[in-house]
């Protein structure tokens, strides 16, 4: 039942918050939202090992509303709860109540996605989670074209996901397979099913060359929303690769793994090079996301237990630091009304706390040892190298150097240098804004020092079987 609460409570409350006049109840909405998000966090904590199921279809294949965290998604769900909490506290958009409502609905639908143990439910929430972002883009974003681009790209992915799910159901007879290790699809249709899944996952992640919806979406979406989107929603595809594709059709994933590695490496380099030359702060982070998530794709495609462990670490780490960066950039934008590195500068002198927050987030993103990003990077690459992928490992090291260059450029461009006189500097972080960032920063440091809690996840649940499967072939 906890799963049901996790999904329905945010959705219902979020929907309820959409009613009423625009300017009503703005004040309590933040605290209601934060309270709901906090309760969701503790519910999510308690959800470990629980399951809930209700029969849905029996023909042409069986499926169920079956929810419950898997070994991996448990952490992603926690990440989602933390990020939503932070994002809600960081909301300073107009029509705040509605915005927070959208955030809660996004949380609920993504809870559904990550808790789903049934492919059909997974596909359902895959499309559902697009809607809050879409409406936020229409209501608060700059350009409606962005909203449509986001929606069309991701919905196209959702379509192939649904088709692949249907084909999966017809082939296997049931879609209630996520988190199970005994499902191994074979047949002439499986490559097509895999391609259908992959397309959805690659668009969502996104991976080169399906990424062009992402930079404009990330720069147009208001920061609290994009924090959650980049932190958690972008992990849906990666989670899908691990929990669905690798678990149920390992041989086919293996067949296509070289392509995935190539795409991952190209994303890695491509994103990093572009991030080096952008002037819009949020676009820098967007392209850096492309780069970082490419690394996770490489990790997944390398079929190595250590790399997979690192992928899970890095999924969480990337969620934490990208949320932190986007929230901080949101603070900067709300103060200075610009995101352009050309116009910004010298904020650090008058906003030391803001500078500190951005600094920690940027350092985590560039993989500073001692923060969570580094742990993921080194564990992934160790695994990738161990899997015999020497050149991918070498190429993946280049973006680490580039990351340090563009992240420092971002940080220094905003915070350092002479103070720009015509910027409307207002104030340093207030306590609510600080409270929003605190959980993210603390988690980054704790996981950076000792990520042991996260590595208790047993890769054999997904990988050992697949590896042995692959070996026996």
């Amino acid at each position: 039942m906890i799963e049901l609460l996790l999904i329905l409570v945010p959705v219902v409350i979020g929907a309820a918050m959409q009613f009423g006049r625009d300017d009503e109840n703005e004040k309590w909405s933040r605290w209601t939202g934060a309270l709901v998000a906090a309760v969701m966090f503790f519910l999510a904590l308690a959800s470990r090992g629980t399951e809930w199921s209700f029969r849905w279809l029996s023909r042409p294949f069986t499926s169920a509303f079956h929810f419950g965290p898997t070994a991996i998604s448990y952490w992603i769900v926690l990440l989602l709860a933390v990020c939503t909490f932070s994002a809600i506290l960081a909301v300073n958009q107009p029509r705040r109540r509605r915005f927070i409502g959208q955030l809660l609905m996004l949380e609920g639908t993504m809870m559904g996605l990550f808790l789903a143990r049934d492919l059909l439910a997974f596909a359902l929430f895959w499309d559902a989670m697009l809607l809050p972002v879409f409406f936020t883009l229409l209501g608060w974003g700059g350009h409606s074209g962005t909203a449509w681009r986001y929606f069309l790209y991701n919905f196209a992915g959702g379509l192939t996901l649904l088709l692949a799910t249907a084909a999966f159901g017809m082939l296997y007879g049931s879609t209630d397979v996520i988190g199970r290790t005994d499902v191994h699809l074979v047949g002439a249709w499986v490559p097509w099913i895999f391609i259908g899944f992959s397309f959805a996952f690659l668009v969502k992640t996104p991976v080169w060359p399906l990424h062009t919806w992402m930079p404009i979406t990330y720069s147009d979406t208001p920061s609290p929303m994009v924090a959650v989107v980049s932190a958690v929603q972008s992990k849906a595809g990666l989670y899908g690769f691990i929990a669905i594709a690798m678990a149920t059709m390992p041989d086919y994933v293996k067949t296509y793994a070289p392509w995935l590695i190539v795409l991952g490496i190209v994303s890695l380099l491509y994103g990093a090079f572009i991030a080096l030359t952008q002037n819009d702060a949020k676009r820098i982070v967007a392209y850096s996301s492309l780069s970082h998530l490419g690394l996770i794709v490489v990790a997944i495609a390398s079929f190595n237990p250590i790399a997979l462990q690192g992928a899970v670490l890095y999924i969480i780490a990337h969620g934490l630091f990208s949320a932190a960066i986007f929230l901080t950039l949101g603070y900067v934008e709300s103060r200075e009304e610009t995101r352009s590195l050309v116009r910004l500068g010298g904020l650090g002198a008058s906003n030391p706390r803001l500078a500190g927050a951005l600094c920690i987030a940027a350092l985590a993103a560039l993989g500073l040892p001692g923060l969570a990003g580094f742990v993921g990077e080194i564990v992934i690459l160790t695994g990738v190298f161990q899997a015999g992928l020497v050149w991918p490992a070498i190429l993946a090291l280049i973006p680490i150097v580039l990351a340090s260059a563009y992240m420092l450029r971002l940080f220094q461009g905003i915070m350092n240098g002479p103070e720009v006189p015509d910027l409307p500097v207002r104030a340093d972080l207030n306590w609510i804004e600080g409270l929003a960032l605190a959980p993210l920063v603390i988690a980054l440091v704790v996981l950076g020092v000792n990520p042991h809690a996260l590595t208790t996840f047993n890769p054999s649940a997904y990988n050992a079987t697949t590896v042995s499967q692959g070996a026996s072939k």
Binding site: T382, A405, Q412
Partner: protein
Amino acid sequence: MTHHVMGVDGSYPLLLVLWLLPLAGAILAWAFGPQLKTAAGWICSALVGISFICAVAMWGPGTQSVSGALGAHQALFSWLPGFDFGLLMDPLSLLWTLIITGVGFLIHLYSIGYMDGDRAFARFFAYMNFFVFAMLTLVLSDNFVGLLVGWGLVGLASYFLIGFWFFKPSAVAAARKAFVINVAGDVGIMFAIFMIVASVHSTAFGDAFAFAGSYNSGWLLAICVCLFIGAAAKSAQIPLHTWLPDAMEGPTPVSALIHAATMVTAGVYLVARCAPLWSQNHDAQMLVGTIGALTAIAGAILGCAQWDIKRILAYSTMSQIGYMIMGVGVGAYEGGVAHFFTHAFFKAQLFLGSGLIIHALNNEQDVRRMGGLMKKMPFAFIAMLTGVIAISGIPFLGAGFFSKDLVIQGALEHGHPYLYAVGIITAGITAYYMCRLLFVTFFGSYRGDVDPSELGIRHPELAGTPAHGADQAEAEHEGSGHGQAHHAPAWIMNVPVAILIVPTVLIGWLMFGGDNSPWAHFFAQQFPHPQLSPAPIGEGVTGLITFGAVLVGIAVAWWRYATASAQSRAVERLRGESIRMPGILTHAYYFDLALDLLFVRTSQLFGTIFGRFFDPQIIDGAVRESAFSAQWLGTLVRSFQTGLLRAYALLLVVGVAAFMIYYAVIAGGVHP
């Protein structure tokens, strides 16, 4: 997989305390800086002092040797199987710990005076303490990942402190450059870690070294080269040295602690720590030794062409680290480490001494605008004089002589006569440029009131003088109305310098006595000692040859800068020398330009092509074209929707007809 632990396992609370105290100080000063005000400086210094005391107290466990395990080992936690973390204190790390906390403590004290009145006083000490913590992490770690964590964190601390005055664009750029180049080095170490984990499934030093003999030699060479990329970046070895001179944008105590005494020697530590790996591979030794020697002589030559006092010291640091790297590279680990040890004292001494001058002259760093300071600042003169004696290697009068001799002789003993020659020549050049620094700064008459153009100062920012942004820096530095100039440094700045004079002069005697010296005893079990054939030239003779080179250097410097005629025409001579300085030297062999073209510009070009052309034109273009073709298809289909009833009927009937034809002709008619 057997688990090899270096050091005796156990619980060593002192080790944890000495490691974590500076971190506590950093957090304290960072979080409560505004409340603590100047107390932050005292607290942070005290914490580093306590760390030093703890390090001294760890002498016993750190040098113990029980059944082949040397030193003390404290296990901490584990990320994954193979990624185990712990602290290791053996003679090598003990030595580094003592220097980091001991010299660090003195420099902290000095900083209380130097940074007095700075708006971000507490922040400075937070960074300094953080640096000490990070450096301790680096040297105390018992595995490569922990070392890499420390490696990255000292880079961060260095970044913060170089860019401490972050309103200066030059400081910001220098900080970023230092950080990025160091990350390039980190990446090298990361790759070495991949190879090690792939071989031994563990990151622990013990496991990696126990396996050392059985590595494939190409593989081992690759590991060593990758490790050395990290070492070269951190220790400013050619070609990754370009960040070090720029790093002088940081406050002078920072230059003393980080960019002279401790952090930049991390590469030496790494090579010495991985001695079991290097000893197995002659090619790796050759490579490292050669690069060390090249850096030594290249840095020394550049030192002769600089006018910024801190840049001279920076190139001298680069050159001296070249010595150390050469030492540990060729296999003379004791020698290389010994040079680190003495260098830490005399270079800190030199930097702190120059800091006294800079502080007193209101941030003036150009030696051409100094002169005649001997009478104005006798204490600074003495401090600098002892430092110059030590670094130049004048026999028995300074510490540098003993350690440099160990390195040069070591090169010969391990069969590298060319490196030996380079070492001796470099010693002569070192003596020349250090004496040049001393004579130009302290002899003659004061030139601070001479118009810069008469001294040949054309581009102050290129010469390293803090020109743009300097006003603000000064305003910041003098923030609390501290008066225009510090003509009398506070005692707090003089005491650490005075204390440092003692080891600068005397510490070298530890290394006197060949194999029976206390130094050799200390490291008896640390490093591999291969059987070497005796060198063709004895140690005493080497000392004499070196001394000859040093005398030549001093004589040239004396002739050019210190004779009466040279001093009377100092302004014209300096102007002439500035103007006639070859471009290859003023631009430091164009390394910056080459790196900029090769890496920075290339990356930016890629980024621009991808971001401005590939993304919008090719990828989005393809998407747009497919959208257009869908639109075209729609227009095509739309043209059938004429609204004409009869046209619809026609289409319908044509469809029916098509079906009929299909069944009648293609499907072969009706079969009852």
